[in-house]
Subunit: 193 residues, 2 copies
């Protein structure tokens, strides 16, 4: 049953190249043309159409890819290991590594509207909310803020950092610490560290 039969290695590779290009391009140009995407993938529009019948089809695949990356990153972070803050740090690191995926997925409000899976992730995303609640129970995370709000802020700050890294405002190696400092302790007061 574990057959990946109809897919040649080459075919799989260009398919992936197209998906990657789609995400990369669409993040910066939401109304990019299929021709643009094909070009960015180093291939032609006809080839793109050989792999994806529709624009919608490509979008679906790109969403699935991004979604998969996020789920994988979340699971890799082993949120139930160690104390909640440590886990949160691992998670942020993992998210920063797939910044473009995250931007692609959440930048466009219309995308979530057309792809139930996204809203579903946002809703079902038990892991992160669970982690936050665990942190609150342990007194490591402010109980006065709702877990949903905290998760939202987490995404927003990671998002901001990904953008900043992308446009050169923030050095890649500073991103993680900037996000964590900001997210955990806020911006008020002289640095406690």
């Amino acid at each position: 049953m574990s057959t990946a039969p109809t897919l040649t290695a080459a075919r799989r590779r260009t398919r992936q190249a197209i998906i990657d290009a789609a995400i990369r391009v669409l993040v910066r140009q939401r109304d990019a043309t299929l021709a643009d995407i094909a070009a960015a993938a180093g291939t032609s529009r006809s080839t793109l159409h050989r792999h994806f019948a529709d624009r919608a089809d490509l979008l679906r695949a790109a969403v699935a890819e991004a979604l998969g990356s996020i789920v994988r990153a979340t699971s890799d972070a082993a949120l139930d290991r160690g104390d909640a803050l440590q886990a949160l740090r691992r998670l942020v690191g993992a998210y920063l590594d797939i910044g473009d995926r995250i931007r692609f997925l959440f930048e466009d409000p219309g995308l979530a509207a057309q792809h139930p899976e996204i809203a579903e992730l946002a809703a079902t995303e038990g892991p992160v909310v669970g982690l936050i609640e665990r942190g609150q129970a342990a007194g490591l995370i402010a109980p006065s803020l709702s877990a949903a709000w905290i998760e939202r802020v987490l995404w927003a700050v990671v998002f901001a950092a990904a953008e900043a890294v992308d446009d050169g405002t923030l050095a890649r190696h500073e991103a993680l610490s900037s996000v964590l400092d900001t997210f955990e302790r806020g911006v008020a007061g002289p640095a406690a560290t």
Copy 2:
């Protein structure tokens, strides 16, 4: 010299209605049609075209409107009055009141690319960076984070709150305190308040 001659009151009103509708609609549907926008404005596509030659023309006007709102909000907040944190709070409140304008302006990366004014604002936005630096000098804001980063986070968190309010996740009257709590003190630790 203070002539507003060629513009009837009625004309000005529908023009404004169209701009408002454009912002309102485009925030939720980036590829909305001019017909959609006209409908949302309670008018017809032909009337829209009577006020704005081009789609680009409308976009320009919408960007100008949003930009103006932001500049006005910033100036209304009187950033040089009182201590930096107080000023910051006034500013966040003012920004939350024009959440859709902010979302419209910064949601679409392609928009900034086509409208230099936006990038210019982001760059020139002396006031906010100035405020943050003032706060840092006074020991009220963490000096370990760059002012540019802090400003970015400020936008991001306001943005997140505006979205949350919009989709009903966050009550409007809780938005301000949520943003301030999160932004100033972060999410770590049991609530100090």
